[in-house]
């Protein structure tokens, strides 16, 4: 009898599993029905709104005697390039791709043009339906080609704003080791504060960038996706790290937490490198010594953020510190390369959203760590003061990079 009931239960399970397919089949049916007869539904309600017919101007490059505009069709319907204007004047152009773009297809518009160095310029692409998409560039500067020297240049920028300050910040490690638990909790809270600052900054950057994207590219949803994926990935990683160390009876160790912080900061630096690289390439940023120094000062505090949890670990090898520095700092180099040579605002949105998610997750881990390991409550003045100090320090040093 017992075996019977198991068998009945089993076939019942199978039936209910099959049943689970029913909604899907119904959905497919409803969708195809609508695809066939949807037009008449539109007829019942009224006319469909026309498509916006706006191009997504992906990238504008200035070469000797030439402007190149990369455009994408972000909408459902086809979009045809009609005329092209530079500073409100119709100009002759050639295309390296199709003139009529299907959904998400791209072409590069090549315009012979004697542009003026360092002066503002605007380009416009008018669709065959007469809708003009314009993009203003604050200052026209020659777009560096992907030469070994420019590759090296962007690499050095990434190195200076990413790796150097983090390595410098990690030098606080020996001093932090000698701090009392209370003060250590204050520094940990400072780490949480500066990561929160980074998360908010990255999120705002991502939202700003997505607002400028054509609506068909999914703006805010893209940001949420980036935040969620990175947050959940780091949650998964931190549980992995803590269960590893739990087998040796410890919980999430200081070094593991330092690694998480480094990953969070690394993702942020990827976005930051991308922003610096693309702004420079597109002439939106005057790349002065002052700006580089500003980012360096700003990012030294990131090194401190990694050093604080690492100070809790019993021993940290120099090699391990070097790895932490690379994890946190090297993405700035990668970002600068991407930004300098292939940037797109879509990538910017994804990177900054990922940075926001990662930083937020690490803030949670740091909070747990403070409670678990330093014995301080989150309401202690050391923790509160440390957190606020972290935000303030980031704000103050951020003014240099502004």
């Amino acid at each position: 009898m017992a075996s019977d009931s198991v068998a009945v239960g089993g076939s019942g399970d199978a039936r209910w599993r099959l049943w689970a397919l029913l909604p899907l089949l119904l959905l497919v049916g409803a969708v195809s029905l609508f695809a066939v007869a949807g037009g008449s539904l539109v007829g019942l309600i009224g006319r469909n709104a026309p498509q916006p017919d706006e191009f997504d101007i992906r990238r504008i490059e200035f070469k000797q005697g030439e402007i190149r505009i990369r455009v994408t069709n972000p909408q459902r319907d086809e979009l045809t390039i009609g005329t092209v204007t530079v500073d409100d004047a119709v100009v002759p152009f050639t295309l390296d791709g199709p003139q009529t773009l299907g959904r998400l297809r791209s072409s590069t518009i090549l315009i012979p043009f004697d542009w003026v160095e360092d002066e503002p310029i605007s380009v416009g692409v008018t669709s065959s339906t007469g809708i003009q998409t314009t993009e203003a560039i604050p200052a026209a500067v020659e777009t560096p080609s992907a030469s070994p020297s420019s590759f090296l240049g962007y690499g050095i920028i990434g190195f200076l704003v990413g790796i150097v300050p983090i390595a410098v910040g990690l030098l606080w490690l020996p001093s932090l080791r000698r701090a009392s638990p209370r003060w250590l909790s204050a520094f940990m809270a400072l780490t949480a504060g500066l990561l929160t600052f980074l998360a908010v900054g990255a999120l705002s950057e991502a939202l700003q960038l997505q607002a400028a994207l054509p609506s068909a590219l999914g703006g805010a949803g893209l940001v949420l996706l980036g935040v969620a994926v990175s947050y959940l990935t780091l949650t998964f990683l931190s549980h992995r790290f803590s269960s590893d160390s739990r087998s040796s009876g410890a919980g999430l160790g200081g070094l593991a937490l330092a690694t998480l912080v480094a990953i969070g900061i690394g993702l942020h630096n990827l976005g930051e490198g991308l922003a610096i690289g693309s702004s420079f390439a597109l002439g939106e940023l005057a790349l002065g010594t002052f700006l580089i120094v500003g980012f360096m000062i700003h990012n030294v505090t990131e090194g401190l953020g990694i050093a604080a949890p690492a100070a809790e670990a019993e021993r940290v090898s120099k090699a391990r510190l070097a790895v932490l520095t690379l994890v946190a700092g090297a993405p700035a180099i990668l970002g600068a390369w991407i930004g300098g040579f292939v940037t797109s605002d879509v990538l910017g949105v994804v990177f900054f959203a990922a940075a926001a998610g990662a930083a937020a997750e690490v803030v949670v881990e740091v909070g747990r760590y403070i409670v678990r390991r330093t014995g301080e409550r989150l309401s202690s003045p050391y923790v509160l003061g440390g957190f606020l100090a972290g935000v303030l320090v980031m704000y103050a040093t951020g003014l240099f990079a502004g």
Partner: protein, 280 residues
């Protein structure tokens, strides 16, 4: 930009009927001149590769040239084949019930405008249904020439209507043209003879911008504002607000290619630019 490589819509004879007016007829008071204008909604290519959902008289922007001699009786049958109420408002001297302001012609209806043609000069007509700005910038306008009782001296006669198109509806023109097609006369220069006076009937129907202008390269001309008196200015640049018009007479001193364009550089580079090809 000059010649076949210029991005301009239309073939080599696309604008002939708008550029060259019908001939002037001798003074014959009381003669009836009949025209039929039909309002038609039509999508037209106004700049290379760019289409504009225009409202037209007889399918073109600007509409056809209407010509009469002073003291003719002008009888214009207006048929509204469009999707909105329209009228025709003529500039000139006529009774109030022929003014195209009160007699709104609904789609499918028609109306006959009848009045004596006067005074002589270069005039224009346009729709006066509201909203006025929309009805004008969509393309409902054209030139209206009244010849003087004593004929003007023979000349190579041309008509130029300056206009603009706001193709994306932001209240600013995206393109500027003469006779409706951007850069058309840069692609197909206007051929004229040096030996004969060139007479241009010029009108401005540009919406949104306060003024438009014509500047001729390499020569001077006589400009008769409205063309209703013998007074002229000797110059190479004239400016008109919307609704202003006049007659230009050029006696070319040399042969060759001479540019003409709006002296608002922006208008010139958005399509209002062309050439005369002067030969012996």
């Amino acid at each position: 930009m000059l010649g076949p490589s210029v991005p301009a819509p239309g073939g080599p004879h696309a604008l002939d009927s708008l550029l060259v007016p019908p001939p002037a007829l001798p003074h014959e008071p009381g003669r009836v001149r009949e025209y039929t204008l039909t309002a038609i909604d039509k999508e037209i290519e106004v700049a290379q590769g760019v289409r504009f959902a225009a409202w037209t008289y007889n399918g073109t922007v600007p509409g056809p040239v209407i010509r009469a001699t002073e003291d003719d009786v002008l009888r214009v049958t207006f048929v509204n084949g469009g999707s909105h109420p329209h009228t025709i408002h003529f500039h000139g001297i006529h009774p109030s019930n022929m003014d195209g302001v009160f007699e709104i012609v609904e789609p499918g209806d028609s109306f006959v405008y009848e009045f004596p043609a006067r005074p002589y000069g270069m005039h224009l007509y346009h729709c006066h249904a509201t909203p006025l700005k929309k009805h004008i910038h969509k393309g409902l306008y054209g030139s209206f020439i009244i010849d003087p009782p004593k004929p003007r001296k023979p000349a190579q006669e041309l008509v130029m209507v300056m206009n603009g198109y706001d193709t994306d509806g932001d209240g600013e023109n995206n393109f500027y043209t003469v006779n409706g097609l951007a850069f058309y006369y840069a692609k197909y220069p206007i051929r004229v003879k040096r030996s004969q006076t060139v007479r241009i009937y010029l009108a401005n129907l540009t919406e949104f911008d306060l003024v438009n202008s014509l500047h001729l390269h390499g020569d001077f001309f006589r400009y008769y504002p409205t063309g209703s008196t013998g007074q002229f200015e000797y110059t190479d640049t004239v400016m008109q607000c919307q609704g202003q018009r006049g007659i230009i007479e050029i006696d070319f001193a040399s042969t060759g290619l001479f540019m003409f364009h709006a002296h608002q550089s922006e208008f010139a580079e958005l399509g209002w630019m062309g050439f005369f090809d002067v030969t012996d």
